[in-house]
Amino acid sequence: MINTQDITAPLTAIAGAEHLRSLGSTIAVAPANSEEIAAILRFAQENRLNVVPYGGGTKQGWGYTVQPALLLEMHRLNVLREHTWQDMTCTVDAGCTWAAMQSGLAQHGQYVALDPLWPERATVGGIIATNDSGVLRLGYGGLRDLIIGMTIVLADGTVARTGGKVVKNVAGYDLHKLMIGAFGTLGVITSVNFRLHSMPQCTQGFTVAAPAAEPLGKLILKLLHAQVSTVAIQLRGTTTGFDLDIQLASLAEVLHTQAAALEAMAQSVGLSSRAVGGEVWNARQEQMDRDFVCKGTMLPSEIARFAEHVRGLGGESVTQATGIMIAGFPAASGERLVPLRRDMEEASGSLMVLKQPSEMKLDCWGTLPDSLPLMREIKRRFDPEGILNPGRFLGGI
């Protein structure tokens, strides 16, 4: 272990003294660009210092805990570099907050069609590293469908570009897909190219309420197969009942016929719909305030069953029609989540623990996939000294 002075002097030379802070045993450094990040990582690799990239700090608790020697603060890389609105693409620094990026894009009525958690604080890079997505995933896909290129810095200081600035491109490997959801274990994302969408001209939200999840589960499947322009569907489950929220996006002239079609579908399962405002779409983020929160994945046909299962454990859930659930549980649920995880895994899904009371010791990631040895090998080739977020990822990668 080298002493603090041996660390601060070289880092000061790279990033400048004003961009260095001491946080107890950790040193926080705020580089200005990819080149400084490359120099910092080269230094860290040589000295085997653990590095944790840090954006808005909203999801640092996800995955296993890492004790960093260096906190790589990304807030100085915060510019929306390019918005070629006629081509509907943009290039943005990874340290830019989601909200700042979107407000820049909104000048031309465009956006990255994704609604992540805490957009005011969360950064582009952190959202990508944790593969966050919200209800819009149904209509527009997830990050893997929206990112067309990236610049990354590897542990040895290699600065690599992947993809490009065009939506259609099959040249070389899709390395950016490897970075999405990798929890910063393979490299540091410094800049991202997105494909953009036009903001919908007209949207309308509806809610269908029911005491049990089962008819709403049927309604979800009906909606997925119907000729209506739904961009978002979520099932909210509380201990007292369930609400299915549906957002339609179409032309104003068309919306009323679609609303009527929606009502007819609700009635076919013995329920009815009512118009609602935008506040219902915050439900996922509200769940995150609880002490014990999990992300479950499932096939759409299993949503109602698992929403009931969560209620049976005294929990609440918000599940997108794509089969991604955020569930909050009472602190005492503990070991009762083990059978839930097993059920979800047996149904081709997963249950990841995002947040749990300190006395709880549930494994974050669940059963390991048979491709784990390959994942380890990729980690070894990208980060041979294991300095990037070591131990954060599944299998202790």
Binding site: V170, L251, P373, R381
Partner: protein, 483 residues
């Protein structure tokens, strides 16, 4: 040549009727859609199951024998071109649709299933498999996965990578693994995302689970005639700017129109640029969008527009578009098909430069493109019987690709790098970019036996070799279109 002992192992793995070693039979596998490049493999195996694929790859891993998977051999960049010391794993006998899950909109298939058969299977339930390369009547899902195939409709529906959820893969090291999951966001690295489009260099997929999409309520196609490519291109930008996302937008230039007219008589108007726009969705929405699109066409000077609403009319419109490539043979004895991508707004300037480059070489270039996503398919026409003209044509077609890269685009939008564009990949990406890709390659395939000597740039002395387009026998027979 493979030793008798290795051939015996292969025979044990796939059965005597699953192993081909006779020279005349091997010739069927010596090339793919890039027929100018040929190489006879040492053997071909025809496995019937994942277990047999697994057994074959384990033999290859043990003896360091190169292998390449092969579906219908319709690829256009030499991706399925065999190594002359290697084995071709043909998926011709793995053609089962293993499961259809209509409520969850998923299908699971063996790698040899023909693309169009997936759609045929789920059509009665009101669904389709969205990626639609022009060769979809013969090309296989396994090949689509290797190449990340697109198609005219990927503007709205995305590419193969957006539809593949899970893969059963035999790694070059001999392990059978499952990448991705039928549900979204499987914990771990997105290895399925990296595997799709890796052109057979990371292993071989034996089965896969894909998303299927509900059929739109209605489809309409508009044909509009313009006096210039830039007017047609501007219309495309205006349509996108009006928040309309058509299922497809295609532009053909005068030469391409002539070729198509000569070949299949789609009765296209004679003009400098023809724009084809397909819109699908709920009835009311499509009607309104089409009305807006016709107004935008008029505003940009379209002097004729025709709406094809019936299935028959639509098919005729598309037939002309899809025949344009094969029809180029009517304009010129030889031609090279290129596949580059540019940001949509660069269309006018790039086409102008292509025309200048063509004029300076004295060659003609015919243009057909997926205009919505800036994917150009220039056809360089030439006559190889004129000394030096083939070299000129090859050089021009490569310079067009470099021009695409210079304008912020890509060297391939759908055909892949394969053997054809290895050097061009080195023009598009820098050494650190390629080195990072190699780290992935080496993680999957440390011994470099999975479709070796493809995709990555080779030492300069090997040089770039592209070549004239030679129609696939299926294309000549009128069974399938290839673009």
């Amino acid at each position: 040549m493979l030793s008798a002992a290795i051939l015996a192992e292969l025979r044990d793995a796939v059965g005597a009727d699953g192993l081909i070693v006779e020279r005349n039979q091997l010739q069927t596998y010596e090339c793919d859609g890039l027929a100018v490049l040929r190489s006879l493999p040492a053997a071909v195996v025809l496995p019937r199951s994942t277990a047999q694929v697994h057994a074959v790859v384990r033999i290859c891993a043990r003896h360091h024998i190169p292998f390449v998977g092969r579906g219908a051999g319709t690829g256009l960049s030499g991706g399925a071109l065999p190594d002359d010391r290697g084995i071709v794993i043909s998926f011709g006998r793995m053609t089962r649709i293993l499961a259809t899950d209509i409520p969850n909109q998923r299908v699971t298939v063996e790698a040899g299933v023909v693309n169009a058969h997936v759609t045929q299977r789920v059509t009665p339930a009101g669904h389709f498999y969205a990626p639609d390369p022009s060769s979809q009547s013969v090309c296989t899902i396994g090949g689509n996965v290797a190449e990340n195939s697109g198609g005219a409709h990927c503007l709205k529906y995305g590419f193969t990578t957006n539809h593949v959820l899970a893969l059963e893969v035999v790694l070059p090291t001999g392990e059978l693994v499952h990448l991705g999951s039928p549900t979204l966001d499987a914990p771990g690295y997105d290895l399925a995302g990296v595997f799709v489009g890796s052109e057979g260099t990371l292993g071989v997929a034996s089965s896969m689970t894909m998303r299927i999409v509900r059929r739109p309520e209605t489809v309409q196609v508009l044909l509009a005639a313009f006096d210039s490519i830039s007017a047609a291109g501007q219309t495309v930008s205006d349509i996108i700017a009006a928040s309309i996302l058509p299922a497809a937008m295609e532009i053909m230039d005068r030469l391409a129109i002539q070729a198509a007219e000569a070949a299949v008589h789609p009765h296209y108007p004679e003009c400098e640029a023809l724009l084809l726009v397909e819109v699908d969705g709920p009835f009311a929405e499509v009607d309104l969008h089409m009305k807006q699109i016709r107004e935008l066409c008029k505003a940009n000077g379209a002097w004729e527009d025709r709406l094809a609403e019936s299935e028959q009319e639509r098919l005729l419109v598309w037939k002309g578009r899809k025949a344009a490539f094969a029809a180029a043979g009517r304009l010129s004895p030889d031609y090279i098909v290129q596949d580059g991508v540019i940001p949509r707004t660069k269309l006018p300037v790039v086409l102008e430069q292509v025309a200048e480059m063509a004029a300076s070489t004295g060659l003609r270039v015919c243009n057909v493109f997926h205009a919505g996503d800036g994917n150009l398919h220039p056809l360089v026409l030439y006559d190889r019987s004129i000394p030096g003209q083939e070299e000129l044509a090859v050089d021009l077609s490569m310079r067009i690709l470099y021009l695409c890269v210079d304008h912020g685009g890509s060297i391939t939008g759908e055909h892949g790098v394969g053997r054809e564009k290895q050097q061009a990949l080195g023009y598009m990406y820098s050494e650190p970019d390629l080195d990072t890709m190699q780290r992935v390659r080496c993680s999957f395939d440390p011994d470099n036996i999975s479709n070796p000597d493809k995709l990555f740039p080779r030492p300069r002395l090997c040089g770039e070799k592209t070549g004239k387009y030679t129609p696939h026998p299926l294309e000549t027979a009128g069974v399938a279109e290839f673009f």
